[in-house]
């Protein structure tokens, strides 16, 4: 890998987080997208990062508040001392 190509990979990998977060400018998005289209190793990194992120999300989103917590909160607010 020549130095320029490596620099482009390093730069792309650095921006992947923001790319996935949709926080890049449209110009930056094009640059990253263009590189991913041409560079299978970076595309694999992208897929890995996306996948880890999805795992985190799916794992945490599945958890709900205990059913009695809602009632406890509302009951507590209705006590006159609160407001």
């Amino acid at each position: 890998m020549d130095a320029d190509a490596k620099a482009r990979c390093v730069e792309t990998v650095k921006l992947l987080g923001e790319f996935l977060d949709r926080e890049l400018t449209s110009c930056e998005v094009q640059t990253v997208q263009g590189h991913l289209d041409r560079c299978p190793p970076c595309l694999k990194v992208y897929r890995f990062e996306e996948r880890v992120r999805r795992l985190v999300r799916v794992t945490c989103v599945g958890e709900c508040a205990p059913s009695d917590l809602r009632d406890q909160i509302l009951a507590r607010l209705k006590r006159p001392s609160i407001s």
Partner: protein, 221 residues
């Protein structure tokens, strides 16, 4: 986005209270006669999201419930400061974060993460793993990601230093923008970005270490 009146960037200790101490805004918040119905109708919709974040923050259900009780109580009290039409979800997460920090973070107990080794990180951990997996005739996906149980992921998240953990959760689980997270956690956007970058890398590292100790690709040689 101006979720609440500006609070000082430094010193979390009084930040939730600053909400109540700040001068009255000319525009009214939720009128007191509508407070209860607004709370039940609008605020309680966010209970599950707040709870799951509290659970990862405190790392145990009882503390999470206590934290949520206190958060909701504060939210109720501060509702006259909330401007209907602005981002209620971000406003509530800001109260949650402030409450958590006030309650659980002892002064100057913030773990140092400067020691985190970034030198291996030019091309992400993945590249290293990928070549290691390929040399054994497999893929990272099959050897690392597919074998994680939910509990492994939770453990890895909970092992992150608090500020990194909160930032990663707000972004990856709750989907907040960098600007929202900056507002919620009282830091600059640049700090949000570096916390996310390092937090995610720490998380990947933790997952990979777990996979290795569980016998990644037949164990370390």
């Amino acid at each position: 986005m101006q979720v609440v009146t500006v609070v000082p960037r430094q010193g979390y200790s009084q930040s939730a209270m600053t909400l109540s101490e700040s001068p009255r805004q000319p525009r009214a918040g939720v009128p007191s006669e509508e407070r209860e119905s607004f709370f039940e109708r609008e605020v309680m919709q966010h209970l599950d999201a707040l709870y799951r974040t509290a659970l990862r923050m405190t790392r145990n259900p009882q503390d999470a419930e206590d934290l949520i009780q206190e958060t909701m109580l504060r939210a109720f009290r501060f509702l006259d400061r909330f401007e209907p039409g602005t981002n209620l979800r971000a406003w509530l997460f800001k109260i949650l974060t402030n409450t958590y920090i006030n309650r659980y973070r002892k002064a100057s107990s913030e773990p140092r993460v400067d020691s985190l080794d970034d030198s291996d990180g030019d091309l992400s951990l993945y590249r290293y793993l990928d070549s290691e997996a390929a040399s054994r005739g497999g893929s990272v996906e099959a050897q690392v990601l597919d074998r994680f149980a939910e509990q492994d992921i939770k453990t890895a998240i909970e092992a992150l230093p608090p500020q990194y953990r909160i930032t990663v959760l707000l972004a990856d689980v709750e989907g907040f923008s960098y600007n929202d997270i900056a507002e919620i956690t009282n830091v600059k956007k640049g700090t949000v970005m570096s916390r996310l970058f390092r937090g995610r890398r720490l998380l990947q590292k933790a997952l990979i270490d777990q996979a290795k100790s569980a016998g990644f690709a037949g164990g370390k040689q």
